[in-house]
Amino acid sequence: MSAITNAVALQARRRLGLLAALAMVAVGALTLRLWMLTVWRGEELRETAERRLDRSVWIPSVRGSILDRRGRVLARDVPSWDVAVDYEAIDGSWVRERAERQARRDLGRSLWSRLPREARQAAVQARLPAWQAQLDAVLDRVADLAQVPRSELNQRLERVRTQVQRRAERTWERQRAARMAAGESAASIRLDPIREQQMSHVVVHGVPDGAAFALRRLGDEQPGTVEIVDATHREHPWEGADVLMDLDTLPQALRRRGTVTLRADGVLDHVVGSVRDEAWSEDLVRRPFSRTDGTVDPGGYGPTPDTIGARGLESAYEDRLRGTRGRLDTNLETGVSNRVDPQPGKDLRLTIDAALQARVQAILNPRLGLTRVQPWQHGGNYPLPDGTKLASAAVVLDVETGEILALGSWPTPGDAAELTDDDRRRLTPGLDRAAQAVYPPGSIVKPLVYAGAVARGKLSVDAAIACEGHFFPGHTDRARCWIWRPQYGMTTHSAQCGGALDVEAAISRSCNIYFYTVAQRLGLEGLVAWYRDLGLGQTLGTGLQGPRIASERGEVGESGGILPGAAQVEALQARRDAFTPVIMGIGQGPIAWTPLQAANAYATLARGGRIRDPRIVQDDAALPPDRRDGSLGVPPRAVQRALEGLRQSVEARHGTAHHVRHGDGSTEPIFRVPGVRVWGKTGTAQAPPLRLDQDGDGRDDRTVGGLDHAWFVGLAGDRGDSVPRYAIAVVVEHGGSGGKTAGPVAEQVVHALLDEGYLGPDRQERRVAASAPREGPVDAPMTAPDVESPEG
């Protein structure tokens, strides 16, 4: 070999040696990396890989039921079948794809690949109608089995399509913007279909078993169209009830022979509430399914479909009613599965009697006639026209235990459909007036004020006070007694009674002067403190707000009402306002309470001052731990005399709750329930002016003044009972006279108590059925004085 080639060869050999060394270094480094993965992190990676062999499926749990005091089911989970349609069947891709597939098959692979685009399109187009017909046949069958009109089904499908399309466009906008911001050119961006375009969507909830199985078979025969989804839905059996009403117990003007069946809708809507099937962000924050530390809370809220309380007790007792999910772990390799059973939620038993509640709702419905503006309720010059529907509320408490037997409010959301737009705006069906609407108490407070003054030692039990017609000497225009008016002949109660009044006379005649005096003696601070002791100005931990303690409750579910706070009392005292403290003694001024608070105050009085705040749940553990306790120290003599005053109010001729006077001078007693004694007080509380939107343009254009809220609050028991058994509070918004409007309503509530066996010897049960809503015309409303034929 020549010297040069020799040298080159030697050099080459050295260099090849170098390459060999380089290769060994590279492989050495890779070996190190392999060591790290297999030995150092081997355990961890092996676990990760093994974990993918396990498939976990979460098993939904059952939500606790809500029951009434007699065990009737008010809310429960019911397994059901939902019908879901594939998105591809909704937006037309199902038909197109199958047509295309068939065209390819028919024409053959080689021919297909040779055809230009237009010819291919034509071939597909020709096959579209046949496939569309097949899809239509499927949807017809769905409509038929699910008992939904085909047009309705089409509407639902179209709604799904537009929603998903809109969401897709929004998502793609965002993605496109993000990708272009990252530097990609618009032409090269290809976006994937969103999740909703690849899944099926529920269009019919709750089909019966037979239909579900038939539809499942249909779905198997035509894959990609329809499927049956195993779902649970929340049933509220007492959503609506048909109540048989006795027409011959009604006031004369409405009285008829026989009975009528009234439909009460939303009987327990306000109390029990409702659920929603989507978790909101506040749920995900409060109790997430996937916790931040990586663990999983089986009872937590996740983005998957769920049942969550939205309003009412379903929401207030969400944590109790909610169960925890179970889990099914399957090892895909061995096929072994391990199941953890789901834990159902705890039931919630209420103190409410659903049948009694249904009756109360029927009574409060203007269709019966008591809560419409009626000529006999007013003197003829009422600012609202006859026949106007009025909102109202009624509460029934058990005196001994504080249990809430009925918490009625009209209208409920279930009634909203029947109302005109104007009425709906004025009557606010979403508001639970029994526990959440506040009204000035008016004369209702009088016996309570007396009891308070005696209990606090500011008044003697036998105090007798004269009624001069006006309270402040020298001021004849303010703080007057209600009969010191022109229409009553400017008389005074002292004139009527021949001297000073004792408390029975003052209560039964509802003398203002007596109670201005008592309030003055008790003093502003003392009066406010007494009201607070009776439960005003605070929420009472009834359970309507769940088990939360006072500081966490707020005002949703139950309202605390209005009572001056320390600062306001000081301000009033500093101003040397003599008027306000005094009128607070007759329930006007800066105080307002809910019907629930009213019933509770009277129940407390009936208990002799022992505090037993109302409760809506039976389980003590479900109540807030910080409920009030104790006794207000009312002397028994004072309780007796106050009750006597309330008795006379109803039973004595001179009592304000005794009778209703008609325009023609005739009278009829308000309470005519045999075997039952009623102690009660009427109240006519000045209402703030009512703003109306007369012309429906969205702005209030008319203000109606001179309206009063009609109150009746009282106690009921069997004749022969020394202590009343039940406290009843009724308020009719803008109803005018307490006696004339609220009184008859309360009387019907007493009848309801009798009918449900709470009073009197057990009477023949009146049927109350929970049934499906009827189609067809609503019962004709009853208004006096037309005589209408009895319902057939």
């Binding site: 290769a23 890779l30 530097g183």
Partner: protein
């Protein structure tokens, strides 16, 4: 030689004697051959873990490969040298052909959006495999005559020879295969005597320039770089989408531990972890899962056996052409080995390069066997006469 008319049998015997006289049977070419056998067997076993049907096919192709290798042993070195340039141009033509639009799909079947394959009824082949062989031969042919490459001219032209096939392969698109050309050509330059300084400069320059290529990459290629970088940092955010393949590959590699989990378990793990390309690109992950760290090391040992054996063929070659071809083949193999195992282990972005001899793929297997046969061929030649002097003939 004086032409004596002999009978066909006599002709044949004379040929055989001539051939036999010109080859030796004890040479380094056996090393790559043995390594190729063992690697092919490893490949069949590894593919069998998850795809027994494909394993059978791979075995058949291996046999075909050995036959092709034997055929590659027949031509004399001179013949091979003469074929080098024509083959180079033919391979370029085929590469162009694959890219031309309008070619019917029965001839050029797109796979995963890439136009790389020519199908001729019974079998299909990739022009890029032919291009690898042809480029190595052409560059070797070009370089063997250059005594000294101190001038940049000769240096640059060799690079220029590699660029057209690289480019054509890159736009198929097949980034991974195109990356194999440069290292092979550079190694051949080194072996041919180019100044180390020049080579180092070139390498350093390309490494410096490489990050600038990032914006030119296609989106999915960029995604892969992003995913790899994120993985190395320990950031798992891409592990569900663009980093999915790498993430699953590494998990499976790691789960093999020291000695692997065995066939049954490996089958379940690979399948249920949904490893993509589990029989071709990611076959190394299957090997490490089934045979563990030791399995991976064994693969590298066999690979090094092949690569170092090929380099040994080059080192002991008496004439430059053989040396250069051996260097080219060795570098092609070793680069492919390192890129494939590197991407499986997560130190390189996913590039779609397979593991030679082991990954499923008839045409690549046969192509590799042909290269092996070529090595064997070059190694077994006893240099005759003037050729022994390494002078141009």
């Amino acid at each position: 030689m004086a032409g004596q008319s002999l009978s066909p049998l006599g002709e044949g015997v004379a040929l055989a004697r001539r051939v036999a006289g010109s080859v030796s049977w004890l040479h380094t070419g056996w090393i790559p051959m043995a390594a190729a056998m063992l690697l092919s067997a490893l490949g069949v076993m590894a593919i069998d873990t998850t795809e027994p049907g494909l394993a059978r096919k791979q075995a058949i192709f291996a046999v075909l490969g050995v036959i092709a290798a034997a055929a590659a042993c027949l031509p004399r070195t001179r013949t091979i040298r003469r074929v080098a340039w024509p083959l180079y141009w033919i391979s370029l033509a085929l590469l162009l052909f694959v890219l031309v639009p309008g070619v019917p799909e029965w001839l050029v079947r797109p796979k995963n959006g890439a136009r790389r394959w020519i199908s001729l009824g019974l079998f299909e082949f990739q022009p890029s495999e032919i291009a690898k062989l042809a480029t190595v031969l052409a560059v070797a042919q070009w370089l063997r005559a250059r005594e000294s490459l101190s001038r940049l001219g000769g240096f640059v032209i060799s690079l220029l020879l590699a660029l057209p096939p690289m480019f054509l392969i890159l736009i198929e698109p097949d980034l991974g295969t195109s990356l194999l050309f440069m290292p092979a050509v550079l190694a051949m330059l080194l072996a041919a005597g180019a100044r180390k300084y020049h080579v180092v400069l070139l390498v350093a320059g390309s490494l410096a320039v490489a990050p600038l290529a990032y914006p030119v990459l296609k989106p999915h290629q960029r995604d892969r770089v992003d995913a790899m970088l994120a993985q190395l940092r320990g950031d798992a955010r891409y592990s569900r989408d663009i980093g999915f393949q790498a993430d699953r590959a590494m998990t499976l590699v790691g789960s093999g531990g020291l000695t692997g989990v065995g066939q049954e378990k490996a089958r379940s793990l690979v399948r249920l972890n949904r490893l993509p390309e589990d029989h071709n690109d990611m076959i190394f992950a299957v090997i490490c899962c089934r045979w563990g760290f030791l399995g991976g090391v064994a693969t590298w040992m066999l690979g090094m056996l092949y690569g170092l054996g090929a380099l040994a063929v080059g080192m002991l070659a008496r004439e430059p052409f053989a040396r250069l071809v051996a260097t080219g083949v060795a570098t092609l193999f070793l680069t492919q080995l390192c890129i494939n195992t590197g991407m499986t282990l997560g130190v390189l972005p996913i590039t779609g390069v397979t593991l030679p001899f082991v990954s499923y793929g008839g045409s690549s297997l046969v192509a590799m066997w042909i290269l092996t046969g070529l090595l064997f061929n070059l190694a077994m030649r006893r240099p005759r006469g003037v050729e022994r002097l390494g002078v141009v003939a």
